[in-house]
Amino acid sequence: MQRDKFFKEIENVIHPNETLVKTHCSYCGMQCGMNLRVNTKTNKIIGVEPRYDWPVTVGKMCPKGVTAYQQTNHDDRILKPLIRDDASLKGTKEGFREATWDEAYSLIAKKFGELQDKYGKDTLSVFSGVSMTNEKCYLTGKFARVALQTRYIDYNGRFCMSSAAGGFLRSFGVDRGSTLPWTDLHETDCLFIAGSNTAECHPTSMFRVWAVQERGGYLIVADPRETPIARRADVHLDLRPGTDLALANGILNLLIQNGHADAEFVNNHTNGFEETKELVKEFTPEYTSEITGVAPEKIIRAAEIYGKAPNAVVMFARGIEQQHKGVDNVSAYTNMALVTGKIGRPKSGVATFTGQGNGQGGREHGQKSDLLPGYRKITNPKHVEEVCQVWGITPEEMPQPGVSAYEMFELMEQKTIRAMYLLCSNPAVSAPNLNFVRKAMKGLDFMVCADFYLSESAEFADVILPTVTWSEDEGTVTNLEGRIIKINKAQEPLGESKPDWQIQAELAEYLGRGKYFSHLKTARDVADEFRLASKGGYADYYGATWDKIDKQDGVFWPCKDEKDEGTPHMFLDKKFYHPDGKAKICALPYRPPAEEPCEEYPLRLTTGRVVYHYLSGNQTRRIQFLRDMCPEPYVEVHPVTAAKYNIEHEEYVRLFTRRGEAEYKVKITEAIRKDTVFVPYHFGHDKSINLLTIAALDPMSRMPEFKACAAQIEKLELKKVQ
């Protein structure tokens, strides 16, 4: 139990004819605890009640969380399988007819079979997501490799967490998103937060963040925008988008110059210090300032505070990770903790703010093109052997590694991939360079989409399979701390919808691969097999039974057996997961963004979230309260820049890059750099900012550079806001 000063014993209100089901939110990695209110006469979810006894969030919820329950019985739910016979209507909502599950499964099996006969097994692909339980994520990996027998599976974590994963693996030898529990955060002395709009993207972290300042601790925020968290920071490092690596190197240089390196820790527990020290020497405050645009005094002050802080936590998010050097940025900021030894003890460490609900667990168990359950590598014969034993296939039957999410669309364009099974994701909004991606999806011979709403991506499908929302199934999720938690079922599936694991197990039968799946009758059956499959891997969930999760308020992995209570703090023994037990301090030369501003495209475009929407907005844009609060995207422009273009607040402009264009309403604010414009990415069709973003991929994580590209604005003479 991690009950801290925020925890209060509060009784819940239970209204007449209602019961409460304890669970967690469906959205981001915070996985706030909540109680769903269920009407005991209709057995339907009708509301939400705070879950005061959840130790991480003590009843707190953001507006998405408060209204999350409205997804379940929403009018837009797909209640029956849908088939579209007229392929010419692809890319629209038109032409779907209701079908039985049998007809849908039969059609999928027939089409997939024909394509594989003609073009080989690898002509199929699975594009998945991580806003679903570990059990579903696990089974999706098995479904692709055992039922479909294709190498091409990847997932939307490539647009979210893959850079953090790559950076942590390189620095620590293990990828657990936070080295310490969130219940430590308010007790640290300095939070250094880079590229995280925490107040909007992980709002329920904020009471802990503010508590650091109220105790007299410091808050340092690196962000091109003065976000709500940056507004109150002790130091706001207002850097140019895409220049984090220089900033991190500059601060590391000062930490070393000022004598804040912990020689004992560095010598005994790390490699790479000398080389890195040499490399960062060049990054004087002046040189760093030249690249980043941050005043040298601010860089000096930030380094001084972080260096002097007895305890400090370095945190970051997509701002630094969604760059074509995202992995380097992660390792570079992690260097700060490794050089100063502020890691491997309570109240100090490194953490990333996981974007999706199960962004942590979903990336560990085999949905990634090169990974198998338990964070095993598909290229490691021993790992393959271990998983094959659980799956009942031979190592020869295990497909080869595939390619990353964006690269799958390139293979679709080249006709190497001719069919896609899409679930739990909406790449027609969330992928970069959308003109290309949408064309690739439209060109598929056959596409299946499993979703509970008709998303923009479902508009490209031939068959839509109705899935359940998170509240109509049970299973585990791993939150941003690395804590495995339990999602509980509050209502029976609406209409004919089914959980993804059930759909995949049933479809496997139609594909002639039923014997590998037919024993999986319940979510718990999948959980038991999944725990076994993870056993012995880095991300070992074997000991994280549902009972233990319930009893302990979650279980932090690794958790190897029944007696193991899990690992809230990583590296307390100063042992890292590289073979020699040492962490790696990385020497990382600076690289500018893939596309720098020029005369034709003089502005830096960056993208992100607003507090009211989640990911592609497929869920949140349908919720009345959230839609009322933020009905459409906008472009944030500094008043000085706006004056240059002669544009006014709430006027519509055309924003364009080398890849695409869209029209947006202008939002004037001084809380952004003059050389930068910002657009939130939650919107579909012609409002998607990803029509403009660049698909420059990180060489290690294959993460696209959503956070920086070159853009231009054009005033629209006639379209003044009505």
């Binding site: 919820m61 002395d189 107040a199 904020m206 410091y218 309260f625």
Partner: protein, 186 residues
Amino acid sequence: MKKRLYLELENCIGCRSCLAACTQCGGHEERNRNYVYDVNPLVNRQTMPLMCLHCVNPACARSCPAQAIQIHETGAVLSALVEKCIGCQNCTIACPYGIPKFDTEQNLMYKCDLCIDRTKDGIPPMCASVCPSNTLQWLTDEEIEAKQKQFNLDNGKWVTSMPYLEGETNVRVNLPGILQGVTKLF
């Protein structure tokens, strides 16, 4: 132990979770009853909630010719009684903070009742329950006193922790500037 709603305006992150949660109290007909404002919209992202302060001598109730606005024994100033409200909207004009809202269809005023079904039993109102930034808190008088001591400043720039904004209120407010009295750790 009696608890009160306490506001630390400087904490507000503008998420409007309080408004979303307001609809969830069970007694609010799923309509939110308070406000969150952008303080300086074209300049920065500062926001602040504007909640009913539950005045000890509320102007809304005094202005009501039909005695439709009752004061609960906890001090909560309740929403208009359906059977008494005549829809004159005096209260919406009388309230110095502009809190009462008016439903033209029902010809009825409605306002924050501090989730009376919860707070009468000491359970925090929905807004303070969910507030992710601790802008809205549900505290004992002792806890509020400790807060006010901590933030009691008269530095010529800001006066924080003023006892009341206008008249005496049941809700306590801490104006921006809460960090000014904080001694840094190092």
